[in-house]
C-alpha cells in the first residue's frame, strides 16, 4: 500500500497509488494515513482516482480516518472511480463525505 502526500497551503493531498483498498490492506492504509495526517492542515483530500476496488473493510478504514481527523480537520475525497462511487452510494456514505470529481487546481481539471 503506497500513499503519496503533498501539502498545498491549507490542504494536504494524499493520493492512493494502489488499485485496491480491501481487507488485505485496510489496517495498513489506516496506519499510513494516521502517520501522514499527524500534522495535518484543516483540510485533507484523499484522491482515489487510482483505486478501482474498495470493499467494506476499505470503506471502514476511510471512515476511521475521517473520525480521526475530526473535529480539527476534515477529510474530503476526490476522483472516485465508478466501482468505488457505487460502494459510497450503497452505504449512503456519499451523503457524509464531501466528494470532488478531481483534485482542485490539478492541470487536467482546468478546462
Amino acid at each position: 500500500m503506497q500513499l503519496l502526500a503533498e501539502k498545498r497551503d491549507d490542504l494536504l493531498i494524499v493520493r492512493a497509488l494502489d488499485s485496491r483498498i480491501d481487507a488485505a490492506v485496510a489496517i495498513q492504509f489506516k496506519e499510513l494515513m494516521r502517520d501522514l495526517v499527524r500534522t495535518a492542515p484543516s483540510r485533507v483530500m484523499l484522491d482515489l482516482s487510482n483505486v478501482t476496488f474498495l470493499d467494506s473493510s476499505g470503506l471502514g478504514a476511510v471512515v476511521a480516518v475521517m473520525k480521526l481527523l475530526a473535529p480539527d480537520s476534515r477529510l474530503e475525497l476526490s476522483g472516485l472511480t465508478p466501482a468505488v462511487e457505487k460502494v459510497f452510494r450503497l452505504t449512503r456514505m456519499d451523503t457524509i463525505f464531501t466528494i470532488h470529481r478531481s483534485i482542485p487546481g490539478d492541470l487536467h481539471d482546468a478546462v
Binding site: 478501482t52 471502514g60 457505487k86 450503497l90
Partner: protein, 144 residues
C-alpha cells in the same frame, strides 16, 4: 443468441486469508466462462463475492485458517454463487439483516457493518445452510 445453459460453473478453492481472497477474485473473473461480463457487472460481482469471502475469513475462520470453496456460474442473466467453508457456524443460523444505523454525529459513524448491508443490497435469494460441519451460502446476482 448463444445458449449458456449447461455451462459448468467456475470453481475455485482458496485459503481463508485476505490475500488469498484477493487472488481468488482476480482469478475467478478472468475465466473465459465469465468473460462476457461487462466491466461494471464484473465490478459488482467482485464486490459482492469479496464481502461474502471476507466474512468467512473474519468470522467463520476467526480462530484459524481453513479452506473455502467458491462456485460461480452464469445462468441466463444471473450469476449464481455458492460459497462453502468448514469454519464456525453462523450464530443461530440467522443471516444478518444488514440494516445500517442512522447516522447522527460524524463521531458516531460506523466503521463496520457495511459488508452485510452491501450483500443484502446486491444479492437475491441469499440462503444459508449448515450441514455436516460445513457452512454453505448461496446467492444470486442479477446482471443489470
Amino acid at each position: 443468441m448463444p445458449s449458456d445453459t449447461g455451462q459448468a460453473p467456475v470453481e475455485l478453492a482458496l485459503q481463508s486469508t485476505p490475500f488469498a481472497v484477493r487472488r481468488a477474485l482476480s482469478g475467478l473473473f478472468q475465466d473465459d466462462r465469465l468473460g462476457c461480463l461487462q466491466k461494471h457487472q464484473r465490478g459488482t460481482a467482485e464486490l459482492l463475492l469479496a464481502e461474502v469471502l471476507n466474512n468467512v475469513v473474519e468470522h467463520a475462520y476467526a480462530n484459524g485458517t481453513g479452506d473455502i470453496e467458491v462456485s460461480v456460474g452464469l445462468r441466463g442473466r444471473s450469476l449464481m454463487f455458492r460459497v462453502m467453508d468448514h469454519g464456525a457456524e453462523l450464530p443461530g443460523h440467522i443471516l444478518p439483516s444488514g440494516t445500517l444505523a442512522d447516522f447522527g454525529q460524524h463521531s458516531d459513524l460506523p466503521e463496520g457493518g457495511f459488508g452485510w448491508h452491501m450483500i443484502r443490497a446486491l444479492a437475491k435469494d441469499v440462503e444459508y445452510r449448515r450441514q455436516n460441519g460445513c457452512n454453505q451460502l448461496s446467492f444470486r446476482l442479477d446482471l443489470a
